[in-house]
Amino acid sequence: MSIKHGEPRSVREVVCARSEDEVAQVGTRACALGDSVRIVGRLKTVLSVESVVLEDEGSEVEVDVSLSNPCRFKQGRQYQFIGELEDRRNSLGGGGAADATPILVARIARDVTGLDMALYRAGLKAQERCLREIEERSSGGR
């Protein structure tokens, strides 16, 4: 079974997801459509049984939860989603194609109320640093 892992990204980075050509120009930190990502945020609105809006640091993203594991969604609680970014016209507003922002099609949903976000980000940085050192050590040792 080869399922891609979800790269941890912020809601802001997901909202600015672009096509692969634009990502190549902007840099590796930007999200591309089709990427598997993992995001954390506070549930702002439950649009329907299949769709919720997640908010974090002033940015919002719509999440399609129709394919995810069963999870009870409650406004104001923190949730973590792992899924793929798709280019769909979302329900957040805007009529034209230019206003369409990426939607996260979640395959895993989890209630993480109580997650310390500052510590979470510090943990991710520590992990990145550790893996980079391991990579440098193994490539330097060859």
Partner: protein, 173 residues
């Protein structure tokens, strides 16, 4: 810089990331040769590892259950064997159990495995997995010794910080 190797690596459970497990097969061992595992640049025997992540897939087969644990670095494949029949185990261990003991052992093993499948190995559950990393068909796999669901949402963060600190202060000293 060479990494120091503990005398008996099998006795130590290493806190690691899924990407270290997934990338640990340095040589799949074609032509009947034993596969080689690599950890922190050293060739090692199958080693004990602890992972913390989210279950992203579960596949149930007749004799075993496999599941994937995603800790944001990679997805590590884990394997749990279904309990063998106690009668078979009795023959294998040459034990002399009574019929009642055999039945009780089978019921306990089935009940424990059933609870594991229904409460721990569910999609989206955050789990801590301990087991032995080995190679199967050229891919790294964790043969699970224990798996437990962790409700604290900060458990993954704690594991990341611990793994980074242990790597810096212990594993590379």
């Amino acid at each position: 810089m060479p990494v120091s190797r503990p005398r008996d690596r099998r006795a130590h459970t290493v806190k690691a990331f899924a990407s270290q497990v997934a990338g640990s097969v340095s040589d799949p061992g074609t032509g009947g040769a034993k596969p080689k595992l690599n950890f922190l640049g050293n060739e090692v025997d199958p080693f004990l590892v602890e992972l913390c992540g989210i279950i992203v897939w579960v596949t149930e087969k007749e004799k075993y259950v496999t599941f994937g644990v995603d800790d944001s670095t990679s997805v590590a494949q884990c394997l749990v064997w279904r309990p063998a029949s106690a009668a078979e185990a009795q023959v294998a261990k040459r034990a002399k159990w009574s019929r009642e003991e055999t039945q009780t052992l089978e019921e306990v093993a089935r009940d424990r495995h059933g609870r594991l499948l229904s409460s721990e190995l569910v999609l989206g559950a955050q789990v801590k997995v301990r087991g032995r990393v080995d190679s199967y068909l050229g891919r790294a796999q964790v043969k699970v010794a224990s798996v437990c669901k962790v409700d604290d949402p900060n458990a993954e963060t704690e594991h990341r910080m611990d793994a980074e600190r242990l790597y810096r202060d212990v594993y590379t000293k």
